[in-house]
């Protein structure tokens, strides 16, 4: 049967990845004997922005499908809704089916919202959609089709749940899609100067843990499943050899939950000798031991870990239970074998206090100083079917949360009104109340620290260290005195620097609770980071004005702090102390590969440098330019 699978517009990013869920589904349908086509409106929007509905109508007329399947993430389900309406507008006889993260989590609610939708599938879609197409083709009843939701005269019917697929027997996805998916178009969206060509591939599904905020674990019924190692390696080989992809983001809720599988997978990738690297999800309380080195030798580039909170109470409440010891040990052991750790934090749990959030940001700063990269800060959101989404919590509409994820830069007023009017369906954009602060304060805190940790990380870590448990309270005072930060000003590294550095400088200058040495220290760190960003961005900046010496690839400027020692203390979790305020100089250099190094120096060498002593300049240049 002819079916058109549709991905609505998804992101603002110019780099587009193939819609993994639909590709896996299309591969499955094809092997079951159906005739799927794929329309990726996220890709089409890049060449014809704002025209996704027209593009869709034209594709429907061209393909003339009997059935159209729509997937939805939480940020584009309103777009999917419009497309479903448009489908019936083109041909009322077309059968519409919906699934994916949002519609698949709330199938009854989506049938309630969208009169033009005929069927919705809860959870994993392969078996149900295949059975539905067979039923439509043979005109047999739909009652027995598992996980299917549809309207009956008496109301909405939801059939019993489908059993989960045995992923071990699944065939490779990509090589079977050549006639319906032009991977070259996706590969062409990777910027030419990008050091990597990355693509998502499915390694498996399901995480056995029960974190209260997590939607994907219950979506896959918490059953850990993996595709066969041979299948995954075959997909990597195909995408590498045919399309030049060299980095694979292995999609699995928690791949490292089965260390034996990961070990065997590493052996297979190593033996395949493919010139590729890969990333995967990990948990800080899963001890990798010697497996970490094996992962690196097999091309593991980085792992993603949800750290969430520094508070043991909040860790317990969210049913995660990570400890500081586990977290630090894992980041260090991965760092030792050159695997990068992405560490993600969540702030704004209902019972979380301002002190809890302060501690969390302190830990985030320490991890960043210890080598985790990147360190992310997100506000708590509720995505069904997460256990937290089932709780009756006080929540309010959060336009800032919507702005973060909406597929286009501006959100039409009509869309805002539609989302605001249905909090049960769009609950992800209604943030729950928290003891830590108001929605506005939490949004500003998220915006500030997410950007500080990325661009001015030493400042972020030092602020968190100096203020300790008072950090959030001090931020609220600064917010009241100085007003809000605008996301629009933070689109580039230099934009972040030029917006946030003055903001922090004013905060520190006006806060009477700080001791004088703390103020000097924070201002000194800010000055250093401003100069470093300017040097690394090779842009004209204020470091030029204070520069005391320079060469073709190096510069020296004064500093009121001991940067080297501050970094060591922040990484070790030690308190910052007054002796770190010490006059000295900083030298930054860039080698022929663009790698930047930094040195600090003080004492007798300073006065010699001020006098531009040729000997010391010579030593300086020969040392820092290596």
């Amino acid at each position: 049967m002819k079916i058109l699978l549709v991905q609505p517009p998804l992101t603002m990013s110019p780099e587009v990845h193939p819609p993994l869920g639909l590709c896996v589904l299309a591969s499955h349908l094809r092997r079951a004997g159906h005739d799927p086509s794929l329309l990726d409106l996220d890709l089409e929007e890049k060449s014809r922005p704002g025209e996704y509905v027209q593009t869709f109508r034209a594709a429907v007329r061209e393909h003339n499908p009997r059935v159209i399947g729509f997937t939805s993430m939480f940020n584009n389900s309103l777009h999917a809704e419009r497309l479903i309406q448009a489908a019936k507008g083109v041909d009322d006889g077309i059968i519409t089916v919906a699934g994916g993260s949002h519609f698949g989590a709330l199938p009854r609610e989506c049938l309630r919202r969208i009169p033009q939708l005929d069927f919705a599938i809860r959870g994993e879609g392969e078996a149900s959609l295949t059975a539905l197409l067979f039923s439509l083709e043979s005109s047999t009843p739909t009652q027995g089709i598992p996980s299917l939701c549809y309207r009956l005269p008496g109301g909405i019917q939801e059939n019993h749940a489908a059993s989960l697929l045995d992923l071990d027997g699944v065939e490779p996805t990509w090589s079977g899609l050549e006639t319906i998916l032009d991977l070259k178009r996706y590969a062409a969206t990777v910027p030419s100067d990008s050091p990597r060509k990355a693509i998502y591939i499915e390694a498996g599904r399901g995480c056995p843990f029960a974190c209260s905020f997590c939607a994907t674990a219950p979506f896959w019924e918490r059953r850990y499943r993996v595709k066969s190692i041979g299948c995954i390696v075959d997909e990597m080989r195909y995408l590498c050899e045919e399309y030049g992809y060299d980095t694979f983001m292995l999609v699995h809720d928690l791949l490292t939950a089965d260390r034996d599988f990961v070990s065997d997978f590493c052996d297979a990738v190593f033996d395949a000798r493919l010139p590729v690297e890969w990333t995967a999800n990990h948990r800080a309380d899963i001890s990798l031991g010697a497996l970490a080195a094996k992962m690196r030798s097999a091309g593991c580039l980085s792992v993603f870990m949800g750290i969430e909170s520094a508070s043991s109470r909040i860790q317990k409440e969210m049913h995660k239970g990570l400890t500081h010891g586990q977290i630090m040990s894992t980041v260090h052991s991965l760092r030792d074998v050159a695997i990068s750790s992405t560490c993600s934090f969540i702030i704004g749990f209902p019972s979380e206090t301002a002190v809890d959030v302060s501690d969390t940001l302190h830990l985030a700063g320490r991890l960043k100083m210890a080598g985790a990269e990147p360190v992310q800060v997100h506000r708590l959101r509720r995505w069904p079917p997460a256990p937290l989404a089932a709780l009756d919590l006080e929540a309010s509409f959060d336009l800032e949360a919507l702005r973060l994820e909406y597929p286009s830069e501006t959100i039409p007023q009509e869309d805002i009104k539609t989302i605001e009017a249905d909090p049960a369906f769009f609950m992800g954009y209604f943030t729950p109340e928290t003891q830590a602060g108001s929605s506005f304060q939490m949004a500003q805190l998220e915006l500030l620290f997410a950007n500080l940790l990325a661009i001015l990380p030493i400042t972020a870590a030092a602020l968190a260290s100096i203020y300790g448990e008072r950090l959030v309270a001090a931020h609220c005072d600064a917010l009241m005195a100085q007003g809000a930060i605008s996301r629009a000003d933070l689109s580039t590294a230099l934009g972040v620097r030029d917006t946030l550095a003055p903001y922090i400088a004013a905060w520190v200058a006006r806060d009477d609770s700080l001791k004088e040495w703390q103020r000097v220290l924070l201002q000194g760190i800010l000055a250093y980071e401003r100069a470093r960003i300017g040097f690394m961005a090779t842009a004209g900046d204020e470091s030029q004005a204070t520069m005391v010496a320079s060469g073709s690839n190096w510069t020296v400027f004064p500093a009121a702090i001991n940067v080297a020692e501050i970094l060591r203390k922040l990484a070790d979790g030690q308190e910052l102390t007054p002796d770190l305020c010490a006059d000295g100089y900083i030298a930054l250099s860039r080698n022929e590969n663009g790698a930047v190094r930094g040195f600090s120096f003080g004492g007798d060498s300073m006065s010699r440098l001020r006098q531009r002593d040729p000997e010391i300049l010579s030593i300086l240049e020969s040392t820092i330019s290596q």
Binding site: A272, A298, I458, M536, A564, L567
Partner: protein
Amino acid sequence: MSASQSVVGFVPDALAKGLHDGKGFAHDVLELPLEAGKQGTHLRVRRNDIHEVRVGPSKAGHTSLQLILKPEATYELVAKAPKESELLTAIQDPAFLYGLGRLHWFVIYAGPIYRQQNGAFKLVEEQTSRS
């Protein structure tokens, strides 16, 4: 499943090919960098201690290597770092290291996995960045 200890690292492609063919040992000791293209830290393994050389993928001129060691084998970790002089102190600013695979400044000691394997870690050499 029997287990054996191994060390991993990256060597230039030509050396990897030679090792695979059994011709790559110019000396009795092999120096195995922990990161591709980085000389900051390497493992020093005696030829006679190597049971098997496993050659993995190659990228940008460097090949991933696994050396399966004999049961009683030992090895040394060598960290090369700029010597702290009276004049200059290196700033270990994470901003310099971002960009994937630029973690060499942090790998200046043997991580837990090496210590767990045979306890052979020791700092055996330090080189200055200038003469």
